[in-house]
């Protein structure tokens, strides 16, 4: 099993390049977060296990509309700041509390994200996971995401910021599956374990009493965004957390 290190833990005294979440002090390398040690021949890095979302250009995120201002809206995206969206840039009517998907168009030096391609999703549920564990929810070639979709029959939109929008099917089961991935993100063979869980759980985890069905446009929009994931090379070393 991979080694988990804590902030301030000594990683090595060898001469290596400090990677993600590693700093040098007195010639030695230390971790700055709680995470998984990734010790390679040339460099050492730590894959963080906790932390808020740090926006990156081109990320697709799931956000929640916060307060309305004179010329736009504030959007909460599980980051250190909210993003301002101008009324001129949105096609649909927004209201505080609405769930949206958006793309990060740009990130400034204060780590504030400029959002575009805003689309509203109605109802459903937001499931939250640590942003650094999002790659595990998607999986190589979106393999884990496929398991989740087939196992629950839900329409699922995974935001790179750790917020997952889901509607229809057995969202209650999806919540349990995401919780499992969050707990075991650092372990191996996770996709198989999740598949087993689905096989056993389908009888005992009932969908919520109140059924919701995603509209056709919603399903299509999610499918379009999913296609991107198939081809993507997902960095397991996320740079969420200010480095």
């Amino acid at each position: 099993m991979k080694k988990i290190v804590v902030p301030g833990e000594l990683l090595t005294a060898e001469r290596k390049r400090p990677g993600e979440h590693v700093f040098m002090q007195n010639g030695k390398l230390y971790s700055d977060v709680i995470g998984i040690l990734d010790d390679k021949p040339g460099d050492v890095s730590v894959i963080a296990l906790e932390g808020r979302y740090v926006p990156r250009m081109d990320d697709v995120i799931v956000g929640v509309v916060g307060s309305e201002k004179a010329t736009g809206f504030m959007v909460d995206l599980n980051s250190f700041t909210q993003s301002f969206v101008s009324k001129k840039d949105i096609r649909e009517q927004l209201k505080p509390g609405y769930i949206i998907s958006a793309r990060v168009l740009d990130v400034n030096e204060l780590k504030e994200a400029e959002l575009g391609q805003i689309r509203v999703f109605y109802g459903g549920e937001i499931i939250s996971i640590s942003p650094v564990k999002v790659p595990r929810v998607i999986g190589k070639n979106a393999s884990m995401l496929d398991v989740l979709k087939r196992g629950t029959n839900s329409t699922i939109l995974v935001g790179r910021n750790g917020w997952i929008w889901a509607k229809g099917g057995n969202v209650q089961l999806l919540i349990k599956l995401v919780e499992k991935i969050e707990r075991e993100a650092h372990l191996e063979n996770l996709t198989v374990k999740v598949q087993d869980f689905v096989a056993n759980a389908n009888k005992s985890v009932k969908p919520q009493a109140f059924a919701e069905n995603p509209a056709l446009e919603e399903r299509k929009a999610v499918e379009k965004l999913d296609k991107e994931l198939k081809g993507m090379v997902l960095n397991n070393e996320s740079d969420s957390n200010g480095s």
Partner: protein, 219 residues
Amino acid sequence: MAAKKKEEKTEFVNKQGKRLDGRTTDQVRPIKIQVGVVPRARYSYRMATFSVPDRKNPKPGRRDIEISKVSSEAFERAIFTERFPNTAIDIFVEVLDSNAGTRIAALTCAAVAVADAGIPMRDLISGVAVGKAGGKIIVDMNKFEEDAPDAVDIPMAILPNTEEIVLLQMDGLLSKKEWLEARGKAFEAIKQVYELQKQALLKKYEQPVEAAENGGVVQ
């Protein structure tokens, strides 16, 4: 028990080297650290009214404000704040029950919470309250010992890697020789505290029990 003790001359450390509660001068009290106990999450240090023997006014007093200041200064050294321009990191501490060594317990606990939040730090902050009672230097005093006539209270917190001291205060009369002994004992005791902090953080990531794979919640 309290009334009786006032009459006898209290022997804070007996001839066998044992304290009133049975500990040796080097032993800290049992420590329990647990992450994730309340779902959600400036260092605001507050004490519940019922956390101390005499009901405390709920408004933060000068003592609370001073503790907040020295504790946030400790965090300024530990957290890589330069990575969060224009951002405030609020750390809220509420003491529910207090029995000496409170500010150190709070700081130690807060350090674990900050690490659990994924905020990059140079190191955890680990500390202990070392002091003197009945002429002997002891670590992690309890309320009784803190009330000894010659009591000295030294809360100390360090960044364990570099052993930099990031919090240090003292109340009482101490010789330089006594200080050196206290400092030595404190550094030793802090090693135990640091281990417990690490364990608390790692507990979340222990291998889960595979047996509960029946769709039920794995605790």
